[in-house]
């Protein structure tokens, strides 16, 4: 597989990357290259210029401050999966990253590239929506942030502007009494999620005080399920099943492996199981 001809530029700083983006129409940023290069090899993408941002250390790293975790956009899936900071404050993100591809993919692929590419079978997007994370973008005219729930717009479409770089993601830390889980129904060929269910449950004094469920894979963008009916309950299996069965998708996506109907069904089952796992960890 041979990509069409392209120029390669390596950016030494975020500012340089931004000006290269300005100077080169239709240029593409490259982080880990694990989504971009396959597209180029199939000639589904033919950018005239590739701007390699892979060595921008300023965009790498995981930290926690004031009840919020920050993950730089160039942080690899492997680093996220192995992070002590995330294990303590946002374990569901680490859990999801650990399900991505194989070791090679996790060593190269980045969280920024993953969400900028926005494959409906990606493992990260539903988790970020569950967490209420914000996505931070920088352009020559400044910085802005977008709620994860608004960031994903459609199949392979996000709110990243042509002149923007995704710099980092912030997510509120999960507090004591909160359990979370990510459950993946893996596609046997691609390894992507046919369905990925991210859930969190907060328990105080044996009663549920908060719960969330977001399912990836059933629609073009992550689908949030209203599970507020769980608040105040003791999180019985029946209550959880009833809450998860609220999953609804207007226009579910399907392929030769799994139809839309079936994905919605599995979303409910995996949603239920993810909520139960989150409860057991709370």
């Amino acid at each position: 597989m041979y990509p069409a001809q392209f120029d390669y530029r390596r950016a030494g700083s975020v500012d340089e990357a931004l000006s290269l983006l300005q100077e080169n129409e239709d240029a593409k940023l490259m982080a880990g290259g694990h989504s971009l290069i396959p597209m180029m090899k199939l000639r589904l993408a033919q950018p005239p210029v590739v701007i390699d941002i892979g060595r921008l250390n300023e965009l790498k790293g995981i930290s926690e401050a004031g009840g919020s975790v920050r993950v730089g956009s160039l942080t690899t899936h492997a680093d996220i999966a192995a992070s002590d900071v995330l294990a303590a404050h946002c374990p569901v993100l680490a859990e999801a990253a650990g399900h991505i591809g194989d070791a090679q993919v996790r060593n190269r692929g980045t969280i920024g590239g993953n969400i900028a590419h926005a494959d409906p079978g990606s493992d990260i997007p539903p988790v970020l929506v569950l967490l209420g994370a914000s996505v931070h973008l920088q352009s020559p005219s400044g910085t802005r942030s977008v709620a994860a729930g608004d960031f994903f717009q459609d199949l392979l479409m996000t709110d990243v502007g042509e002149d923007e770089i995704l710099t980092h993601v912030d997510a509120p830390a999960l507090g004591a009494g909160t359990g979370s889980a990510y459950l993946k129904f893996e596609h046997p060929a691609s390894g992507y999620a046919v369905v990925g269910a991210a859930a969190s449950v907060t328990v105080q004094g044996g009663r549920c005080t908060g719960a969330g469920l977001v399912v990836g894979g059933v629609s073009a963008t992550p689908t949030a399920v209203d599970v507020s009916s769980l608040v105040g309950t003791d999180l019985s299996d029946d209550a959880i099943a009833a809450a998860a069965s609220g999953l609804d998708a207007e226009d579910p996506i399907g392929d030769i492996f799994a139809s839309g109907d079936y994905r919605v069904h599995v979303g409910k089952v995996y949603g239920k199981r993810a909520l139960a796992a989150a409860r057991d960890r709370a």
């Binding site: 041979y2 001809q5 060929a189 030769i256 079936y262």
Partner: protein, 781 residues
């Protein structure tokens, strides 16, 4: 000297392969190398109104753009032939490059050669083909319907052949008087072989000598040379050398002669330069011959005691758009003839219609016909166990050909030379802890979403197609013997030249063991040469699990000839009579006088010096054999699969897989186990994941590894293997074959297990692959 047959010596092939030093075709370089990209039809069926190559040819660095016109202008035969004929087989021409009609997505329409691959690929995008799309039919059943789009004018109704074996009337009578009958409509899913190394070719023509050397991914270089020269390029056979360097798997896909390799040969002749082509994964999926793709209606009749009285099979088998090399044999002589399975069946009738479809051609793929036959027989046996109330074990036992009935003549031509089916079943039951499993299963029946199922497959396999005369009478356009030239050097090391061409199986290790064992020397003293038509005498290659039984036997024969000749030389030197000499542990000895002996090395040296030598003997110590076996060999065994089905999602988890195989004498147990592991992975892959899916317009929608699921290591479980040993009675090594056994036995074992798990839901069949959605829908319907 310890025996080396039956020991797991490590594969001598591996150090080079795992350190990246092995040279595959695409690794090879050549002075002045140019690169080819083949332009392929995006339509399943279309008329070519015209091709404009000017924009491609105008790109700097492009050396040639060839179409069907150039093939015609070259005055060469220009076709891809079929190598197995059946009575009334319709054999439409398969042009190397499509001239006016394309018949499957991926059909070659032009080739671009350029100074580098990137340029060639860019230029290929500029070849403008004016297509008039036509209606297409991709489905084997739809292709037989009235009014279906026609693939070839010569083949009305898309029928390539109509074939039967066995007798219909006795079967009808058996059904008329049966106490129990079971029947099944099934699909055997189309598979894509997926060798890890894509097909590749480097052709180097030299106009100064008129010779061409072709390095290519081949399982059988001599057969490729014959077909390439005779039918495609029209070159004299002796002017073409075909070399198969390291070959990264084939599973059948590298037996066949394809258009692409011939096209690259033509490019090299035209340009008088070396030209290379390596298939992309997409091209591999579109052009490597696919496997299976049957639609079958079958039924079994049994008497009140659960003894089988008749078997009826009617199959529509897809051929794809053209007849590939061995395609007509696969769903006929490698399928219908296996319908007796391990059972004594008094009446069998099998009817097969070969069907053209607008798809990639279908041909031999690991197991080739035998997995399809085993699937039919073993699925029916599962149903028979239920219908008779005997269960899967007893119904099989009751019908096994009894051990004293061998040789056993089936109703479908084959005569099984040997077998003993009960012990393999016994051992499998013991390994799996059958009774315990059944009680675990029972305890789950009423509670919980996860159900356990146990599935059996007691398979028969026929490998090492033989003898040549019989195979020829059935339509093969090739012999089915194998050759070996064994040369003892003056220093007593040995080089073997074998016509059996390894592509991952470990022939170099195994064959060196055969020689070392027979000659009583160290395997390290034996070198094995294969895969080069200039070095090796004519040979038939590696497929159909034939290498040990046919190729290995040829080597054994040659070694025996060497020992016989060595005895004459030693007798002369020891002043004894050749009849009094014995050969043991690397020495020739006079029987009864242990101190009168000569080592192999002493004799070998004298054979080449010929100073003190028998008058009537030629110098040298080497021997060539062309071994034509008396019969097929018949490996068999029982496999048991245990699954857990999540009835809430339809997901299947493999819990256990036990396989007891009888492959005759074992040369290298580690290699035999490795072959079983690979075959099992592919057979389980067929049952659970793999599926080549075409849409209505004939587009291959599972054409990439994003959609076509080959099994990965984490999808599988450790296999539990054991063996019984019933040596083959008619070859010198007592070996059978093992390359395909795993892929033959396992699909039925897996499906039977899943169906067994779902018995409470009244489910008796689900077509492969058993994807979670299909299982879930079956549970909920």
């Amino acid at each position: 000297m310890a025996r080396v047959l039956g020991t797991s010596i490590k594969r001598r092939e591996d150090p080079a392969l795992i350190t990246g030093r092995g040279k595959y075709t695409d690794d090879l370089k050549a002075e002045g190398l140019a690169h080819a990209v083949i332009v392929r039809s995006p339509y399943a069926h279309a008329r070519i109104r015209g091709i404009d190559t000017s924009a491609a040819a105008a790109l700097p660095g492009v050396l040639a753009v060839l179409t069907a016109r150039d093939v015609a202008a070259a005055g060469i035969p220009g076709v891809v032939p079929v190598g197995w004929l059946l009575p009334d087989l319709v054999t439409p021409a398969h042009p190397m490059i499509a001239a006016d009609t394309v018949r499957h997505v991926g059909d070659a329409v032009a080739v671009v050669v350029a100074e580098d691959r990137y340029l060639a690929r860019d230029a290929a995008d500029r070849v403008a083909v004016d297509y008039e799309p036509l209606d297409a039919v991709a489905d084997v059943v739809a292709a037989l319907e009235d009014g279906a789009p026609s693939v070839h004018e010569e083949a009305p109704g898309n029928v390539a052949f109509d074939w039967e074996i066995g007798e219909r009337e006795p079967v009808d009578a058996a059904f008329a008087s049966a106490a129990h009958t079971v029947e099944l409509d099934l699909r055997n899913n189309r598979l894509i072989p997926h060798a890890i190394e894509p097909r590749a070719v480097l052709a180097s023509y030299d106009s100064s000598t008129g010779e061409m050397t072709i390095h290519m991914t081949s399982q059988n270089p001599h057969v490729h040379r014959l077909l390439m020269t005779l039918a495609s390029l029209g070159m004299p056979e002796h002017k073409v050398r075909i070399v198969a360097p390291e070959v990264g798997g084939g599973f059948g896909s590298k037996i066949h002669h394809y258009a692409d390799e011939a096209i690259v040969g033509l490019c090299s002749m035209k340009l008088d330069r070396p030209v290379k082509w390596t298939a992309t994964r997409t091209e591999t999926n579109l052009t490597d011959a696919h496997g299976r793709d049957h639609s079958t209606r079958c039924a079994l009749a049994l008497d009140a005691d659960g003894r089988i009285t008749g078997l009826r099979v009617d199959t529509a088998a897809a051929m794809g758009a053209y007849l590939s090399t061995f395609a007509p044999a696969v769903p006929t002589y490698l399928y219908g003839t296996l319908m007796s399975g391990q059972y004594d069946i008094p009446a069998i009738h099998c009817h097969v219609t070969g069907v053209f479809t607008h798809t990639t051609p279908v041909d031999a793929y690991r197991g080739a016909g035998r997995p399809e036959a085993t699937y039919v027989v073993e699925r029916l046996m599962h149903l028979a166990g239920e219908a008779t109330g005997l269960g899967p074990v007893e119904v099989r036992r009751r019908n096994f050909v009894s051990p004293d009935a061998f040789p056993y003549q089936t109703q479908v031509a084959l005569a099984y030379d040997s077998g003993n089916y009960g012990p393999a079943m016994d051992r499998a039951l013991e390994m799996i802890g059958y009774e315990d499993l059944r009680s675990q299963q029972a305890s789950r029946r009423d509670n919980g979403a996860k159900q356990i199922g146990i599935g059996f497959s007691s398979y028969i396999e026929a490998c090492g197609l033989a003898p040549s005369a019989v195979v020829g009478s059935l339509g093969a356009q090739a012999g089915q013997w194998e050759s070996a030239d064994v040369r003892v050097h003056p220093t007593a090391s040995v080089t073997v030249y074998t016509g059996s061409s390894s592509h991952g199986q470990g022939h170099e290790t195994t064959f060196s063991q055969i020689v070392a064992d027979r000659l009583g020397i160290d395997p390290e003293a034996v070198e094995v040469i294969h895969g080069d038509t200039d070095l090796v005498q004519f040979g038939m290659g590696t497929y159909g699990s034939r290498s040990a039984a046919v190729g290995g036997s040829a080597i054994a024969r040659s070694v025996d000839k060497i020992i016989e000749k060595g005895k004459k030389i030693a007798a002369h030197l020891l002043e004894a009579s050749a009849e009094d000499l014995e050969y043991e542990d690397g020495s020739f000895r006079v029987a009864g006088s242990p101190d009168r002996s000569l080592g192999l090395g002493d004799v070998a040296l004298q054979a080449y010096l010929a100073h003190n030598y028998p008058d009537d003997l030629e110098p040298g110590l080497s021997a060539t054999s062309f071994y034509d076996p008396a019969n097929f060999t018949y490996p068999f065994g029982t496999h048991v699969c245990v699954v857990e089905v999540d009835t809430e999602t339809g997901s299947i988890e493999l819990l256990r897989y036990a396989a007891v195989d009888d492959v005759g004498n074992v040369i290298n147990p580690m290699i035999v186990d490795g072959q079983l592991h690979g075959g099992l992975a592919q057979g389980i892959g067929q049952a659970l994941w793999e599926n080549a899916v075409y849409d209505e317009s004939g587009q291959l929608v599972s054409g990439s590894l994003m959609d076509y699921a080959v099994p990965k290591i984490h999808n599988l479980i450790p296999f539990e293997l054991d063996r019984t040993t019933t040596p083959c009675p008619h070859n010198p090594l007592g070996v059978k074959g093992v390359g395909e056994a795993g892929a033959i036995a396992s699909p039925a074992a897996v499906v039977n297990a899943v169906v067994d798990a779902l018995a409470p839901f009244g489910i008796s069949h689900i077509d492969m692959p058993l994807t979670p959605e299909k299982v879930w829908r079956a549970v909920n319907s």
